[in-house]
């Protein structure tokens, strides 16, 4: 009987579709029959029962037990569904995440349901934009009314469109789905469609009839490019001042109506608000983020990934990182380098700086791949504090490429491990990261003091991801080398590195530029060392965090480094030294210095742009010696084999002042002092 009724409805839909405008009765009788519902729930019993109930309501049901699958369905058939019903607790993806995705990508009404009727959960559903929240067991009466949400959404959209009715209506964002999809979709795809139909049926307004008949707007699909354009426009205007009309003008996309922009802006604002409110759930977010990133993305998938990233790191990643991530994610999906820039701007919440927009396009791609790796590699190591520092530093790094940012985000995660992060370090990290991806020249300038710390952070990130992303990082070899140097220094010691980041800052001005250039020459060969170095650094960072423990560990690492590196102290040492001097926690610096030295040596002689660097290694070592025995001891192990290393060591040792009880940890006596070539 049900089937027969449904079929009757369907058969009627064809004539009614054409006549629907005039005779609202014909269609309204059938509506909401034929509503296309997508049900997502991991509980097979619930799924079965819901399907049965929905069929009883004369709806068209598609069920799936996995959120990823549901998203695929939705993406494949953008206008194939009218409404989505989703469970809250699902193993593969949180119901709220799915809710966000659907809302942003397809702008469909989503109903949440759960056996959990706690107020908090329900509130969460509402804040995430669910149109309704059902408590299990779901009764058929509740399902009978879900069509109201579809109508409501269509009505709002339609009304907006009516007001803004323009000549071009190709890209209307229409949520309205025909009551009977079978018939409607065929005619709807052409134009008028559900929008008009719904209006007629539900509202029965004459004016709408005319409008709808002339409306031939397919749903607006917010592709990645479109969204990036949107974000650019919003950032340009400023989040507070962004009004749909102006955004529309800025975007200058034919066929886009103010309504489309308005609804998208609303969603975007909601999303941003949610992001800013997320500060404690890094892990969860990260995890959630990782999940979606893995999923096959549609046009907006990259954005979703970005969102997730943003969500995960909203409180923690510096705006730049987020932007980079976003850009990376977008770039990944679309391979468009310019796009990420707008995203970066988006982070108004994080007071993004415009310079960040200058991401290298190439780096974007690399960053994307790298980023993904990074993201996965560093799920839950972010700490708000560190990120905050990163944030500050990140801001200064306008032109850090995505990679850099991703790295910084990564490093941010590293930093989180070490609560002692200092503002400088993040900058350094970022600088490192920026070095990696951006051109040396650009790096030199913007990075200067600011960039350095930031690069340091990214380096950390880079190191973490070393295996996967190294290749991509190597592209800007010069930058990479430089950043590597920085990174190796800092990454290991999340916080100690931070302090060490002073080095890059010091050396940055002149050094960076030069180093970068020199590094460019030696990108490839250096890379492998870099890898090992990174690994070592990574280990080191872990140890550094403990400081005392790290020192011993570092020693071992240093020895490893020595084997892999054949670098002479050169400028790096100097650079490191200068920065070390400045930084309070010099422990990491020695390491970094070594890396610098390594990089530098390979690159050739790098003039000492910085004043501090002018000191010869010998001087440095001497100075170092004077300052700290234990540091030197540490350095000794680090550079026993290489002269440069010794110098670095000495310099590093100096840096280690801040670390304190290093000597005992190191386990070596003033060996290095003797070895230091003075």
């Amino acid at each position: 009987m049900n089937l027969g009724g449904l079929q009757a409805v369907k058969s009627m839909s064809v004539p009614s579709s054409s006549l629907s405008r005039k005779s609202g009765d014909g269609v309204s009788d059938q509506f909401p029959a034929g509503l296309r519902v997508l049900v997502v729930d991991d509980d097979p019993i619930c799924l079965l029962i819901l399907e049965k109930m929905l069929k009883k309501c004369l709806y068209e049901v598609t069920k799936c037990n996995r959120a990823e699958l549901a998203l695929n369905y939705l993406r494949e058939n953008k206008n194939g569904y009218d409404i989505v019903i989703s469970d809250v607790h699902m193993p593969d993806m949180d119901g709220f995440k799915l809710l966000e995705h659907v809302g942003l990508e397809m702008d469909l009404p989503v109903i949440m349901m759960s056996a959990d009727d706690g107020k908090k959960v329900v509130m969460k559903g509402i804040t995430h934009g669910a149109v309704d929240y059902l408590i299990k067991p779901v009764r058929i009466e509740a399902l009978k009314n879900i069509w109201q949400h579809v109508v409501r959404k269509n009505k709002d959209e339609y009304k907006g469109k009516d007001c803004e009715q323009t000549g071009s209506v190709e890209d209307g964002e229409q949520q309205q789905k025909p009551p009977e999809d079978a018939e409607y979709s065929s005619s709807a795809n052409e134009g008028n469609w559900k929008n008009s139909k719904k209006r007629k049926d539900e509202e029965d307004e004459a004016e709408e009839r005319d409008d709808t008949s002339s409306l031939k707007k397919p749903r607006v699909v917010w592709s990645v490019e479109l969204h990036q354009q949107f974000v650019t426009a919003v950032n340009h205007l400023g989040l507070d001042k962004a009004v749909p009309k102006k955004i529309l003008e800025l975007m200058n996309v034919p066929g886009l109506t103010r309504e489309n922009v308005a609804s998208h802006l609303q969603k975007y604002r909601l999303y941003l608000r949610r992001l800013s409110g997320v500060s404690q759930h890094q892990n969860g977010l990260n995890n959630a983020f990782m999940g979606p990133t893995d999923a096959t993305f549609g046009s907006m998938s990259s954005f979703n990934g970005i969102e997730l990233q943003a969500l995960a790191s909203s409180g923690q990643l510096p705006p730049q990182s987020l932007a980079i991530i976003q850009a990376a994610a977008l770039g990944r999906a679309t391979n468009k380098s310019p796009v990420p820039v707008p995203l970066v701007d988006q982070r108004n919440l994080f007071s993004f700086e415009s310079p960040k927009l200058r991401f290298g396009e190439d780096s974007l791609l690399n960053n994307n791949s790298k980023q993904i790796n990074l993201l996965h590699g560093i799920p839950t190591n972010m700490e708000p504090k560190q990120l905050a520092t990163l944030h500050q530093s990140a801001q200064s790094l306008g032109n850090l490429n995505m990679q850099l940012q991703s790295q910084s985000s990564q490093s941010g995660s590293l930093l989180t491990q070490r609560p002692q992060s200092q503002p400088r370090t993040p900058l350094l990290n970022e600088i490192n990261g920026s070095h990696v991806s951006t051109l040396p020249s650009s790096l030199g300038q913007p990075i200067m003091s600011q960039a350095l710390p930031s690069s340091v952070l990214p380096r950390n990130g880079i190191e973490n991801v070393r295996g996967g992303t190294f290749g991509s990082v190597s592209q800007p070899s010069s930058a990479l080398d430089f950043s590597v140097n920085h990174g190796t220094e800092f990454p290991g010691n999340s916080f100690p590195l931070m302090s060490n980041s002073g080095i890059p800052i010091l050396t940055s001005k002149g050094m960076l530029q030069e180093e970068v250039k020199s590094e460019m020459k030696v990108p490839r060969g250096y890379l492998p060392n870099y890898d090992t170095f990174d690994e070592l650094n990574q280990n080191r960072t872990q140890d550094w965090g403990v400081q005392t423990d790290g020192s011993t560990f570092d020693v071992s690492q240093h020895s490893n480094l020595q084997g892999s590196l054949d670098v002479s102290p050169s400028i790096l040492v100097q650079q490191g030294f200068s920065s070390n001097l400045k930084s309070e926690q010099s422990r990491n610096i020695p390491v970094s210095k070594a890396t610098f030295a390594v990089g530098d040596s390979r690159a050739g002689n790098i003039s000492n742009p910085s004043q501090q660097l002018n000191s010869s290694p010998a001087d440095i070592s001497q100075r170092i010696k004077a300052e700290r025995l234990p540091n030197m001891g540490f350095q000794n192990t680090f550079f026993p084999e290489q002269f440069g290393q010794d110098d670095l060591m000495s310099a590093l040792l100096k840096q280690q002042e801040g670390t304190g009880a290093v000597e005992s940890e190191f386990g070596f006596d003033g060996y290095h002092l003797d070895n230091l070539p003075v």
Partner: protein, 146 residues
């Protein structure tokens, strides 16, 4: 067919009894309503799936609770109303067993119980659902004894 009539009567009696005792609730009635000629075995299907799923859930719960319980006898349950009763009693036994465990991952168990609660409520197993609610409270309180 006498036998069929008798079985049907038995079925009705049993369900009435279960309703009266609170094992089943209105949701079960809804399930029955959903069944029609197009899907004559609907209720049977749903309840069978419920049992399979519940068995798996209970197993997972048992593992989380460090309880090794084999539920082979559940498999023997025929998908009819009798199962509800047996299943519930089994559930009670499990409760007692759980209380003996010391190392418990409450969060995980809570997750399982939540899912079980959803399933049972969808099916109409009222007492099971209530037991789940109580269980969840215990989990939140981290009350092993509960």
């Amino acid at each position: 067919m006498e036998i069929v009539g008798q079985l049907q009567k038995q079925y009705v009696d049993f369900t009435t009894c279960l309703f009266r005792e609170g094992y089943l609730d209105d949701q079960y009635v809804q399930l029955q309503k959903l069944q029609d000629e197009s899907n004559p075995e609907f209720v049977v299907e749903v309840v069978s799936i419920f049992f399979e799923d519940s068995e798996k859930l209970l197993n997972d719960m048992a593992c989380s609770l460090s309880v090794s319980i084999s539920l082979p006898w559940v498999l023997f349950c025929v998908p009819d109303l009798l199962i509800d009763f047996n299943f519930f009693s089994f559930f009670l036994i499990l409760f007692q067993l759980y209380s003996q465990q010391q190392v418990v991952d409450f969060k995980k168990v809570d997750g399982y119980v939540h899912q079980f609660k959803g399933s049972s409520s969808s099916v109409g197993a009222q007492r099971v659902k209530n037991a789940c609610a109580a269980f969840r409270n215990f989990c939140e309180d981290k009350n092993l004894d509960g």
